[in-house]
């Protein structure tokens, strides 16, 4: 399978859909008692309408005016640096999502222990000094906020 695309086509299409959906949600998401024509719904409609128009124009620009790249889905694709980078960034985002969940469930210290191990392993760091420094700085950050600034962290 082969697809031709550029960032304008992708962004234009995605944001046109998002803008249309959100525009249609305006009446249900913004209940106002104002009776004037200009009210609480006006500026969101302008922003979403503008987003829809500009993104559609971007889509058209990408389709008709700008060069495109070709992506061929075959075995060779999976060996390319771009594919590996896409997988790596997805893993990185997953690491962060788990970090946020642990932050809410277990608190700052436990979540940061997880974060330090996973991020340093992600970058293939095996130096003990990196782990020691990272743990120390996290502890300092915790103390600065809780003791120094009197802000409680989970």
């Amino acid at each position: 399978m082969k697809i031709t695309y550029n960032s304008e086509i992708v962004a234009g299409f995605l944001f046109t859909v998002i803008a249309v959906v959100l525009f249609l949600l305006v009446p249900s998401q913004i209940h106002t008692l104002e009776t004037t024509e200009i009210n609480a719904q006006t500026v969101p409609r302008i922003a979403l309408g503008g987003l829809g128009i500009f993104s559609f124009l971007l889509f058209l620009q990408g389709v008709f005016l700008l060069p495109k790249k070709t992506l061929v889905f075959n075995e060779a694709l999976y060996a390319t640096r771009d594919f590996r980078d896409a997988i790596r960034s997805t893993v990185y985002i997953a690491i962060m999502i788990v970090y946020v969940v642990l932050f809410s469930l277990l608190g700052f210290i436990a979540a940061n222990v997880y974060l330090i191990f996973t991020v340093l392993l992600y970058y293939r760091s095996t130096k003990k000094s990196h782990y020691i420094v990272a743990f120390s700085v996290s502890a300092i950050v915790y103390l600065v906020f809780t003791v120094g600034l009197n802000i409680s962290l989970p």
Binding site: E8, T36, V43, I116, L153
Partner: protein, 499 residues
């Protein structure tokens, strides 16, 4: 005069005199670390300033801003990687000087040019801002809306890839700014029945997510085995700048400062553009332009004086009009608001003493920059050896602690990662983030004044074109979008034909 003296009185408190050197050192360190920028340093330090007095907090953040702008020159010179976008033009001659064994000389000239220009830029802010603020007291809602539109039009200047993407970014930012309770009618907007969203999205939360988290995610492709750049400490010799070289650099510094101040005072530009223009002009006016790009000390003087000269000048539109001059001042504007100071002409009227203290503080910051840089330059080189993988953990810890501390709410932590992941994908699609930031900052100003103006005119849009100042801003906004669009199209055509 009374406000000036009151400002001096506030400025010379022990907290500020301690905060300035600490802020400078932190700023230089942050600016000198590849992967961090002064913008990120400011964002990360804003939560630390919550318990400070407003003047102390803002002067500390300004010190980080100024220090970071100089600190970026250290990596530009030593490892051919600008620490911030403002230092990009310093690469051209900075790294070649390092290769010739003159790194210390390059760093010294960068510091000297930054200090001189920074002091002049701070004085320009001190003397130009108050009269401009007096003029803006005549503004009504129509003028403020036109001003917000003008501020958003500078998107054209920062959307160097595609004006449509910039406009989309602005629309996204304006939409995000409408989430929560409507200030005028009290209507709840796009909260999806989530009570936490009623207070809207905090500007600081949006900043941390858009800039800090997305920057960490952009480094997901970083491979320490291939991408790490290491400086040879032997490259930092004791080779000093001679009296002859200081004399040669007088004109580049003067020209760079002038360009930095003019460009900096124009919204939507900033130190990066000032640095490039100053470098180009200095090269064209030089008697020996062929030496530029091969380790010419005048090149460093030109770019560094412009980017630091712009630091003070970019504050002029922010303080007087409430329109940020560039991304960094948009972030600083958020810091002002966090501390109860709303930038704009009313700030001069209601809290003039605090404002004068801040502007005078910027002068002191730039004077202290010389000492902070002079004594610690040879140590800063080692900062660039901090591995990014270590930095990522530290920055993420700061981000989550800072986000949580804003409102003691886990939802803010969720939001920074939501914004960060969205911003990461937007950057992968070649979107700039500054238009989104401008939309979030200027959206509320635009909406409130749009609706107020229409209430005053009984719904007639003619109010925006019959008032001369409003019409002038709208025409300038329109012209800037047209000019940048034409210029961008011409550059694209030229690039295509050269291929």
């Amino acid at each position: 005069m009374d406000l000036f003296l009151a400002g001096l009185d506030i400025l010379f408190s022990w907290q500020i005199l301690v905060a300035i050197p600490l802020g400078l050192i932190l700023g230089i360190v942050v600016g000198a670390i590849p992967g961090l920028t002064s913008d990120l340093g400011i964002i990360l330090c804003i939560p630390l300033t919550y318990t400070m007095e407003p003047t102390v907090a803002i002067v500390t953040l300004l010190a980080i801003y100024v220090g970071g702008t100089y600190g970026g020159a250290i990596t530009a010179i030593l490892i051919n990687t600008p620490g911030t976008s403002a230092n990009a033009a310093t690469l051209f001659d900075g790294y070649p000087m390092t290769q010739k064994g003159e790194a210390f000389k390059a760093l010294t000239m960068a510091l000297f040019a930054s200090t001189v220009a920074g002091i002049i830029g701070a004085f320009v802010l001190l003397f130009a801002a108050p009269p401009i603020a007096k003029v803006t007291l005549m503004f009504g809602p129509a003028e403020y809306l036109a001003l917000a539109v003008f501020g958003l039009s500078v998107i054209a200047g920062v959307s160097n890839d595609n004006i449509l993407k910039g406009l989309m970014g602005a629309c996204i930012g304006i939409f995000v700014s409408t989430i929560g309770l409507d200030v005028i009618s009290g209507a709840v907007r796009f909260t999806f029945d989530n009570t936490q969203l009623r207070r809207g999205i905090d500007l600081i939360i949006a900043l941390i997510g858009l800039f800090a988290i997305s920057e960490i995610l952009m480094k997901s492709k970083y491979d320490p085995r291939i991408d790490r750049k290491v400086i040879d400490p032997a490259a930092i010799t004791r080779c000093k700048v001679t009296a002859q070289e200081y004399k040669r650099c007088r004109k580049p510094i003067a020209l760079g400062t002038l360009i930095g101040v003019i460009i900096g005072a124009t919204p939507g530009t900033g130190g990066g553009l000032a640095g490039f223009i100053s470098y180009n002009q200095t090269k064209q006016l030089s008697k020996h332009p062929e030496t530029f790009g091969k380790g010419e000390i005048e090149g460093i003087a030109a770019s560094e004086s412009a980017n630091n000269g712009a630091c003070g000048a970019t504050m002029i539109p922010m303080l007087t009009l409430g329109v940020p001059g560039d991304g960094a001042t948009a972030i600083l504007m958020g810091a002002f608001m966090v501390h109860g100071l709303v930038p704009g002409p009313m700030l001069f009227k209601e809290q003039g003493n605090i404002l004068y203290a801040i502007m005078l503080g910027l002068v002191v910051v730039n004077v202290c920059l010389w000492f902070a840089g002079k004594f610690f330059t040879r140590f800063y080189a080692h900062i660039t050896r901090i591995p990014f993988e270590l930095l990522a953990c530290i920055v993420l810890a700061f981000c989550t602690a800072g986000a949580y501390s804003t409102n003691n709410s886990m939802y803010d932590v969720y939001y920074i990662f939501i914004f960060g992941i969205l911003a990461y994908y937007l950057r992968r699609l070649n979107f700039q983030l500054v238009p989104i930031l401008l939309g979030i900052v200027l959206g509320p100003l635009a909406e409130m004044n749009f609706r107020r103006a229409l209430m005053l005119s009984d719904g007639s849009l003619s109010i925006f074109v019959t008032r001369p100042i409003s019409l002038a801003f709208l025409l300038v906004a329109f012209a800037s979008v047209v000019v940048f669009t034409i210029k961008g199209s011409a550059e694209k055509k030229a690039n295509r034909s050269s291929r």
